[in-house]
């Protein structure tokens, strides 16, 4: 390239940001590979993606940086986490090698691949001059991207959009449960139906609460003392509750404080108190 173009200096701020974020991004990548816990791996990946987002912003591509953070870090990685969290907390990678020598081979091949790509990129960009993106944007970064997307690359853009829509719809179709339309009554229909037929527009009464049972299987009592079968949930066998004898009146219980045991010692004010 031209020699004067090569004289473009990288600003101090950019250099500082690079030397801080570069190691962070690299650490994120390594942490992602070496973490045993899947969620920790995902978090390390988030670190790398965030650093990349900031890199884009520094490289005069603020829109790309924001999109990177909003779409990749914000939406896609959260969905990843969503799935990983469903897997369970204690599911870590097994340390047992199922294929003999797999780790070593993978390490060697990985390092080799990295060297290959790194060397290739280094060779390709060796003589290139840094010209920055200042004038590549034309009328600003956002406007330039919009212009390219909707003129030169409009077909690719539309095709990608169509592909994604098809994928999403396909996933929906595959996971959908076939249900005959109108076969399931919703809350609204049930509520209306209840008012049309039943003499009970509201919900069914709850089970009984006794001194010795508050189980859902304990039926509530009707005014005449019979257990009410309606109060027991469907699918539960009604339980016989051992009743407390019902003491009545002051004669047996003494003062209210004594009966509740709230006063200590209870004042000697009744037959029950006398007996203590």
């Amino acid at each position: 390239m031209t020699p004067d173009a090569a004289e473009v200096v990288i600003g101090t701020g950019e250099a500082v940001a690079f030397w801080i974020l570069g190691p962070v991004a690299l650490a994120g990548a390594l942490g992602m590979v070496f973490s045993r816990n899947a969620v920790h791996s995902a978090l390390w990946l988030v670190t790398t993606m965030l650093s990349l987002g900031v890199f884009y912003v520094i490289q005069s591509a603020p829109f790309l940086g924001a999109a990177q953070i909003i779409v990749y870090t914000g939406a896609i990685m959260i969905l990843f986490l969503f799935v990983l969290m469903l897997v369970g907390r204690d599911s870590s990678d097994s340390v047992v090698e199922t294929l003999r020598g797999q780790r070593v081979a993978a390490a060697v091949l990985g390092v080799g691949f990295a060297a290959l790509v790194g060397a290739g990129v280094a060779r390709a960009t060796e003589g290139l001059a840094v010209i920055g993106l200042g004038d590549a944007g034309g009328d600003g970064n956002v406007t330039a991207i919009a212009e390219l997307l909707y003129t030169r690359y409009v077909l690719a853009f539309e095709a990608t959009g169509a592909l994604l829509i098809v994928a999403a719809v396909g996933a929906l179709v595959y996971t959908q449960i076939e249900r005959h339309p109108g076969s399931r009554r919703g809350q609204k229909q049930l509520s209306r139906a209840r008012f049309l037929t039943d003499d009970r527009p509201q919900t069914l009464p709850g089970p009984g609460v006794y001194a010795r049972a508050n189980s859902v299987a304990a039926p509530a009592l009707l005014p005449d003392g019979r257990p009410s079968a309606e109060t027991v949930a469907t699918g539960v066998e009604a339980q016989q509750v051992e009743q407390m004898p019902r003491p009545t009146g002051r004669e047996q219980l003494g003062s209210p404080d004594a009966a509740l045991g709230t006063m200590d010692p209870a004042p000697l004010d009744g037959p029950a108190g006398d007996r203590r």
Partner: protein
């Protein structure tokens, strides 16, 4: 607009060349404003909700109880910091920080006023701005989700996990609706920078309605009402506020994602939630309510939009938006989760998409055909509105009809229309729910027995064994008494 006012409106070139101490003042200022707004919002919320519920609200600490949240914050700081045994320690520690930092960060691009003079330096009342200003806020709110999701996961407990799962799904869904609602604003303002969006709402909207010229309102809340409504609904979901507070629904999930948190970590979550509320309120003011510019009757006064006055208009708008949040909380019951998600995906997102289409069409038509505002409204806006309203009318009629038919069908079949579907729950033993229960006429509903008495306290037994008096029975004094006296 006169020259003085024009020079007050900051442009993108005004940012990024402040002296370092100005930047420092602004950073500290934003921090202080957010913390103060949080303290204020908590007391304000409690007082307003109390008034709505015919209560007094906090009235003990400070004048008229206004220092209550400060006292609560101090108390929170001195509480025991609990680390659950099953917690994933680094992530558990990181989560509240991840929730709080983006919340603070988002406020940095909110314009709070015009260019003012601070110690002789002329600088905009806004920490910074970028061509993608609003996207910075969206990115920060996207990062804030991590705090909640990871906090719930790292607690190692079921309820927080459920809360964080809910919040992950909810916040992503509602962020889509929120982003789509803002698109129309971008189209009208021609920019994504917050200060330029405020500038776009600056001075009236010259309308030409078939030769009749007048100046209409220029707030995007008036020009783009559908966007505004969608934004308001979406941010309530995005900030996990009632009626969309499903991640922390206390009747279902104890405390939701922060159940296991205490002390300062919990305080950070609390802070983040309220700061997010303030931020989205400020963004609503910026995008839809004219930003820091004075509302109409005040804006007649020339000095209203210069100097430090706009700070007042801005915070009045923010407090008004906060009041709406509180109002919603005081009024509406929490939605069921499936209804909530259905509303987001099947109502908000499609409506926002159709609305963007309409807005873009109107703008294109007015540009291509060189029509005036009134003509565009007549030729494009009116047909579109009629089409949408007609569609909604038809849909609601058909839905009502379906409901009626289904209800009649259901009522014709069973005595109890609410019987669960047979495949949901198998009948227990030989018994299904009997249909022959007592009817309303027969004697009404189960009620507690009229002579219900509270059983004696078990503490009495302990007391009697301690004293070692000659009680012959099992120690239950009540039982013994009754056995002697017999049931009356």
């Amino acid at each position: 607009m006169n020259l003085w006012a024009a020079s007050d409106q900051p442009t993108l070139e005004d940012f990024g060349n402040d002296v370092w101490w100005i930047v420092l003042i602004k950073v500290v200022g934003v921090f202080v404003v957010l913390v103060l707004m949080t303290l204020f919002a908590i007391v304000f919320e409690r007082k307003v909700v109390a008034r709505m519920q015919q209560r007094t609200g906090p009235n003990r600490v400070g004048p008229r109880g206004y220092l209550q949240s400060l006292a609560d914050g101090l108390k929170l700081a001195f509480k025991e910091d609990i680390m659950p045994a099953l917690a994933d320690k680094p992530v558990y520690f990181l989560a509240p920080v991840l929730a709080t930092v983006p919340a603070f960060l988002a406020f940095s691009v909110i314009p709070m006023g015009p260019t003012v003079s601070i110690f002789g330096e002329r600088t905009p009342l806004q920490l910074t701005d970028a061509p993608i200003g609003v996207l910075v806020i969206l990115a920060c709110s996207a990062m804030g989700i991590y705090g909640i999701v990871l906090g719930g996961w790292a607690s190692g407990s079921t309820y927080p996990l459920l809360g964080s799962m809910r919040s992950a799904a909810q916040m992503i869904s509602y962020e889509i609706a929120m982003g789509l609602s803002i698109v129309a604003v971008f189209l009208y303002a021609g920019s994504m920078s917050t200060s330029e969006i405020v500038a776009a709402q600056a001075d009236g909207n010259r309308l030409d309605f078939f030769g009749l010229e007048f100046t209409g309102p220029s707030w995007f809340a008036v020009l783009l009402p559908v966007s505004f409504v969608i934004y308001v609904i979406a941010v309530v979901g995005e900030t996990n506020r009632a009626p969309f507070d499903l991640p922390e629904a206390e009747s279902e999930l104890v405390g939701g994602f922060h159940t296991e948190y205490s002390s300062l970590k919990f305080a950070l979550f609390f802070l983040a939630e309220y700061i997010n509320m303030v931020t989205v309120s400020a963004l609503a003011a910026t995008l839809f309510l004219g930003g820091w510019r004075a509302p109409w009757p005040i804006s007649i006064w020339d000095g209203a939009n210069s100097g430090w006055w706009p700070l007042l208009w801005f915070f009045l708008k923010v407090v008004a938006a906060l009041f709406v949040f509180i109002w919603l909380r005081g009024t509406l019951p929490r939605l069921r989760y499936d209804q909530f998600m259905r509303f987001g995906w099947k109502v908000l997102v499609p409506t926002a998409l159709v609305w963007i289409l309409v807005v873009a069409t109107m703008r294109t038509v007015s540009r291509e055909a060189d029509l005036s505002t009134g003509e565009v409204a007549i030729y494009v806006g009116l047909p579109a509105a009629v089409l949408v309203l007609g569609g909604l009318l038809l849909a609601s009629r058909s839905a009502n009809r379906d409901t009626r038919l289904m209800a009649e069908e259901a009522s014709a079949g069973a005595v109890h229309a609410s019987d669960p579907e047979p495949d949901v729950l198998p009948p227990a033993g030989a018994r299904r729910r009997p249909t022959g229960g007592p009817s309303r006429a027969e004697g009404g509903y189960p009620i507690p027995p009229m002579d219900l008495t509270v059983p004696p306290s078990p503490r009495i037994r302990r007391e009697s064994t301690d004293t070692g008096t000659a009680v012959v029975s099992t120690g239950r004094r009540g039982t013994a008494t009754i056995e002697e006296d017999g049931d009356a």
